[in-house]
Structure formats: C-alpha cells, structure tokens
C-alpha cells in the first residue's frame, strides 16, 4: 500500500501594497482624491484629516474664510508642500511617488500671479513652456494661441513690470495653460480685480469647464455659485459641507425667502400673533424676526399674497429672494 503523500499546503495570496490596492479600487471617473490630509505649520493646524474627491471634468469650488486651509490644500495637491500625513492621488498617482508626473498634469494659478517682472510676456510663456516640456516646434504657435485667448497679443512684447494686476492675471492664466494641462487650479483668480476684468476671467473659466478638471478657490460666493459644479465649504482644515450649489442652498429651509419690513412699531406688541399667523400657512417653513424685519422661508410662492395681508398694510418694504451660497456659508458658520 502506498502511503498517501502529504504535500505541504501552500496558500497563495497576492500581497498588494496600499498603493496597488488603491489602483485596483480606483474610480476611473475620479481625477483627484484627497485622503486624510493633515498639515501643520508650527502649532497651527492648517489641514485636519481632509478628505475630498474631484471628478474628471468637474469644476469644484472651495470656499472658506481666511486661514481655512484652502491654499494649503491646493499647494499640497500641486506638490509644492508636503503633507504631515495623508495622501493626494491625482489620476491614481500619489503625490509621494509621482511628483513630476502630477506636476506636469496641473496648471496652477496662485492668488498673486507672481511673475518674473523683467521678462516680456512672450518670453515668460516661452520659458515656462520649455520647463513644462512643450515640444520646441509647438511653443510659438501655442503661445500665439494663448495670447489671443487671454487677449494679450498686443502686449506680448512688453515687460511684465509694466502690466496692471488684471493684465498680470491674464498672463498668469496663459502661463497656467501653456502645457495644456488636464487639471487647472485657480487660487482666488479674481481677487482684487475690477468688475470687468473679473467678469472676463470668470467667462474664461466657464469656457474651460467640462474640458478640464478645475479647482477654484474663491471668497466670492456668487462666483462659486455661477461657475462650480460642486462647492466644498472649508473651515479650520476640514470640510464643513459639500454639494452642488443647489443642494447646499436647499439645505437652507425654503426655496424662497420673503423679507417684510414693517412700519408701525405697535406691531411689536402683537408680533407673537403675527408670527403665529404666518406659521399657520402650509408653505411657510420658518419665520425669523430681527428688529422690524420678518424673514420668512417659503416652500413656494403660493401664499405670498395672504401672508402680506396679515400685516394689514403696515409694511415699509417687501422683497423676495432665493437663498444664495452666501446664506449657506453664513448658515454653516452659525451652526
């Protein structure tokens, strides 16, 4: 009888590195994944376990007060700063391993364009095109195209130190686009610009939308509202809220806000009754009274007429408005 030969049992298991697992799990639709990112400057915590995903072709707005960590998050994504912990994956590549590849995918426009003053606009673009590795034969045509795009062809041979802030910003945008990057990161691109120039830059960003993945840091809520697909509200290095501007606005009670300013001070005496009466309408979600102004959140405008009648003509002014991102922003800080 032949003894059964016992073969050692091997259990084969593929041991994947964290990064390899990430690659397998990666969502093809994601361009930037910020994972548990923390960064401190001395005792100041700029980012505190920040998590954020940005889809391909998406325009994500980051809003937040000064010192919220917006610029730090952007600088880490651009591989300018190193995080204390956490990672950023750009198209599946980690900032800890593939810095050069990631940098070549990003066009970055800092808050101040910070350009070399002694350069001529054309030379500056040429210099950066060479550094980005744009093929020599394509540099001139690319620069012409960009100068035209930012409407700077007529100032191409002028030195940067002769430009206004708006013109510098335009050259800055051209510089960020010189290598036709997949990702664009704009940090306060319209800060300190006159309304016309700011409008032009916003239009320009709108044109780029869809074609490129864009991160837009801004203090201007209307800018974020009109341009962004999604908005993240950042404070003290953490995301406080995130969603489409519409979603965020809908989180504020009501689709419509009715502001009624009353004239007669005697209304103060009966204000409890008035509030109660207004709250009785089915479309009313919330009533707030500050000084002599009633702010009424409504689901629809059906009851507006009846609500106004409650005040029996003691009205100084009436206006309606839809909730804005500014309301969302202020509301999140109230909370």
């Amino acid at each position: 009888m032949v003894d059964k030969i016992k073969y050692p049992q091997y259990k084969f298991e593929t041991i994947l590195s964290r990064n390899q697992r990430r690659h397998l799990e990666v969502d093809d639709n994601l361009m930037i994944e910020i994972e548990s990112l923390s960064k401190s400057f001395g005792k100041i915590k700029a980012l505190d376990n920040l998590n954020l995903d940005i889809k391909k072709g998406e325009l994500l707005g980051i809003i937040g007060p000064n010192g919220a960590g917006k610029t730090t998050a952007i600088r880490i994504t651009c591989c300018i700063l190193k995080p204390d912990s956490g990672d950023v994956l750009v198209d599946g590549m980690s900032i800890h391993q593939e810095q050069i590849k990631i940098k070549s995918m990003i066009g970055y426009l800092p808050e101040e364009p910070n350009l070399y003053e002694r350069f001529k606009a054309r030379d500056l673009l040429s210099y950066f095109a060479e550094l980005y590795g744009v093929p020599k034969g394509e540099i001139d045509s690319r620069i012409e195209e960009l100068l035209e795009l930012v409407n700077m062809s007529h100032r191409a041979e002028d030195r940067i130190n002769t430009f206004s802030k708006g013109l510098r910003q335009r050259v800055g945008i051209a510089r960020a686009l010189v290598h036709d990057p997949q990702i664009l990161i704009f940090d306060e691109p319209t800060m300190g610009l006159d309304p016309a120039t700011a409008h032009n830059i916003r239009e320009f960003i709108r044109e780029l939308k869809g074609d490129k993945t864009i991160i837009l840091c801004t203090h201007y809520m209307d800018e974020a509202d009109s341009l962004c697909d999604r908005v993240a509200i950042l404070n003290q290095g953490r995301i406080m809220d995130m969603g489409t501007p519409q979603d965020l606005k809908s989180k504020i009670r009501g689709d419509l806000i009715l502001n009624i300013k009353v004239e007669n001070p005697c209304w103060d005496v009966v204000k409890g009754d008035v509030v109660k009466a207004i709250e009785g309408f089915s479309t009313v979600e919330d009533v707030e009274l500050v000084d002599n102004q009633y702010t009424i959140s409504l689901k629809s405008k059906n009851d507006i007429k009846d609500i106004i009648n409650v005040f029996e003509g003691n009205i100084l002014s009436v206006n309606t408005k839809e909730p804005t991102l500014e309301d969302v922003f202020i509301n999140s800080f109230k909370q």
Partner: protein, 395 residues
C-alpha cells in the same frame, strides 16, 4: 536636464538687463583701475628709491638755528624737522611770534673748541606751549650725540692715519627678489580670482528673490526637480563669472602681464567658481530675505578667502603637498614657472569636486524643504541636527 533651460533663460535675461550690464562694466573698470595701482606699485618697488609705506612726517616740527659753520644743523633729520638758518636775535623773534617751535644756538667759536677738544655748549630754546616740543628736544639731543660720535671718530682716525678709502663693491642683480616674486606672482593670481567674489549678489537675487517675489511657488509647481532649479541658477552665475574672468585675463595679457599657460589658469579659476557659488547658494537657500543673505554672504566669503589664501601661504613657507588643495596655490606655482607633475592638479580638482558636491547637496536639500522655502523656517542648529540624522523632522 531641465537645469540647462533655467541656465539659458537666467543668462539670457541677465545679459539683457541694463542694470546688470552697468554693474558688469563697472566691475571691469574697477579691476582695470586696480591694474594701474598694481603697475605703479611694481614700478616704484623696482626703482632705486624704493617705496615707503610709512606716512611722511615732513614739516612735522620747525627749528630755527644760529649755526654759522653749519656744524650742527647738517645732522638734523630734515624729514622730521624743517630747519631755518637765522641769527640768534631773528630766531628768537620767530620763536616769540610762533613762526618756529624752537631755537638752537651753536656758539660761534665751536670749531676752535673742537680743535682744542673742549666742550661745546649748544643751547636749545623751546616753546613750552607747543605739545610737539618733546620731539624737537629728542631730535636735538640725538643730533648732538651723532655729532659727538662723528667728531670722536674723526679725531681717532686722525691719530692713526690709514687708507680709509672703502672697497668698491658692484652689485649685479639676477632673478627677482622674494618681495617682487610675492608681488608679481601672488598678487597677479589674487587679481585673477577676484571676479569670483563679485557675483554673490546675483545668485542671492536669483534664489532669495524667488522667495521675496514669491515666484518660487510657481517654479516649485513646475515638473522639475529642486536640483534642476539650484544647479540651473548656479550655472548661469558661473557662466557670467567665466565671461568676466575671460575679459579680465584678456586685459591682463594685453597690458603686458605674463600669464603662463593661460588656458589652464583660466580653467583653474573657473572650477573654483563652482564651490564658491555652491556656498553662496546654501546661504541664499536658507536666508529668508536679502538682508539675512547679505550678512551670511559676508561670513561665507571671509571663510572662502581663508580657505583659498591659507594653502598658498603654507606653500610659500614649506612647499607641502597639502597646500595644493587650493587652486590659487596651483596658479601661483604656474606663475612661478614650477614644473608641476600632472597628478598634482588632481589635488585641487578633487578638493573642488568634494566641496561642490557637499555644498550643492546641502543647497538642494534646503530648497526641497517647504518649511525652509515657505516657513516657518527651522533654526540652524535644528537643521544641522536633522541633516546629521540626530533629530527627526517635525519631531
């Protein structure tokens, strides 16, 4: 190889800058002026009179002398005291009116007294109000002593007559004296190395300027390594130095200075520029602003001058092999016409490569650190400990 792009553009923009060109031409002009001073110095040192490096005391004090036979006054040092001859009465008038500080009266019968070996009584009248009177007193006393010794010697000679005609010795000079060698060889070599220290501000502006103007943020967002940035910027400055040294050597050759093996000398000067710039980049990479960089540069350059200058001094005194680590020693040896074995050149070359590698490595490491570039910047001791692996970053 992105550093070549940075070097190319830095050089291009620097050479286009009017401010830079003005400074560049001014530097050449100052070097050219130094050449004139150097030439004048050599001409003087080669002349029969030689040169005095002590300041002249001519006309420091004045003395009026009543000395008919000029016996006394001819021994007074004319470089210290201005002597005027006048009668005693006139001399005293001058003293009282402040035109002279002192009066010396030598008796009219002094020659007879000498012949009779009698004592001569010389009288000195001093203006007590003048603080320089002690100088005059000392000088008159010295003159009296010299006169006494001279007269004694002359009297002794007269007692024992002999042939006192001195032997005529003719001096024929061959070769250069040691001081001349030091002047022509060492000074000329130092002049050639001077341009290395004239462009520190350029690299400071190039690196610290990136921080101050905040253009560094964009540069660091480029798909290039920190090493490309540091080496690219440094090589641009080395290029400018190479240009100035070439012009400077050309001027020296045209003006008749002998530079043996000029190409080798040129290469030795240029390779020295690499670690000099390396040290400057460390200072620039660590400095927060121009002010800090300026202070650092002063200390850095004092250290570099020491490292460059001490080995040649060692070589002059004992010709030790280690003194060849300084390229300046090799240039001085070339100027001296030494037969230098080829392997001796490996010593300064090795030293330059080693210092360059260390300085550029430190500069790149510093520039890679976001806390050094953007702040808050760690202290120097902490950084040294971190580089030495004795402390963990952020720990």
């Amino acid at each position: 190889m992105k550093f070549t792009t940075i070097t190319k553009w830095e050089l291009k923009e620097t050479l286009k800058s009017r401010k830079f060109l003005t400074i560049f031409i001014l530097q050449i002009s100052v070097l050219f002026l130094m050449l004139f001073v150097f030439n004048a110095f050599i001409t003087n040192i080669e002349s029969q009179e030689g040169i005095s490096i002590t300041p002249s005391l001519s006309g420091f004090a004045s003395l009026s002398v009543d000395d008919e036979g000029r016996l006394f006054s001819k021994y007074i040092n004319p470089e210290l005291i201005t002597v005027t001859h006048a009668s005693f009465d006139d001399s005293m008038k001058n003293l009282n009116s402040g035109k002279t500080m002192a009066v010396v009266l030598v008796p009219a019968d002094s020659l007879d007294k000498i012949r009779n070996i009698d004592t001569i009584e010389v009288k000195l009248y001093l203006d007590q109000a003048d603080p320089k009177r002690s100088v005059v007193r000392d000088e008159v006393n010295n003159t009296a002593k010299i006169l006494a010794i001279t007269l004694s010697n002359s009297w002794i000679d007269s007692l024992t007559p002999q042939n006192s005609t001195p032997a005529v010795v003719t001096e024929e000079n061959t070769g250069e004296s040691l001081p001349m060698q030091i002047v022509t060889k060492v000074m000329l070599a130092i002049l050639l190395f001077l341009p290395l220290f004239l462009f520190g501000n350029m690299i400071i502006d190039s690196v610290v300027g990136e921080k101050e103007r905040k253009t560094g943020e964009i540069l660091m967002a480029m798909p290039i390594n920190s090493s490309d940035i540091i080496i690219g910027k440094s090589m641009a400055v080395v290029g400018v130095i190479a240009l100035q040294v070439a012009i400077w050597m050309g001027i020296l050759l045209i003006t008749g200075f002998e530079i043996p093996n000029p190409l080798l000398v040129y290469l030795l000067v240029i390779i020295t520029a690499v670690p000099v710039i390396g040290v400057t980049v460390i200072i620039a990479a660590y400095s927060k602003n121009y002010k800090e960089a300026g202070i650092g540069l002063t200390f850095g350059y004092v250290a570099i001058v020491g490292i460059l200058m001490i080995p040649p001094l060692i070589y002059i005194t004992n010709k030790s092999l280690i003194s060849n680590i300084s390229p300046l020693t090799m240039v001085i040896r070339l100027f001296s016409g030494d037969v230098i074995p080829a392997w001796h050149f490996l010593i300064p070359l090795g030293f330059v490569i080693m210092v360059s590698a260390i300085t550029y490595w430190i500069s790149i490491k510093l520039f890679q650190r976001d806390d050094v570039v953007f702040g808050p910047r760690p202290g120097l001791i902490r950084l040294i400990l971190e580089f030495g692996g004795l402390k963990r970053r952020g720990g």
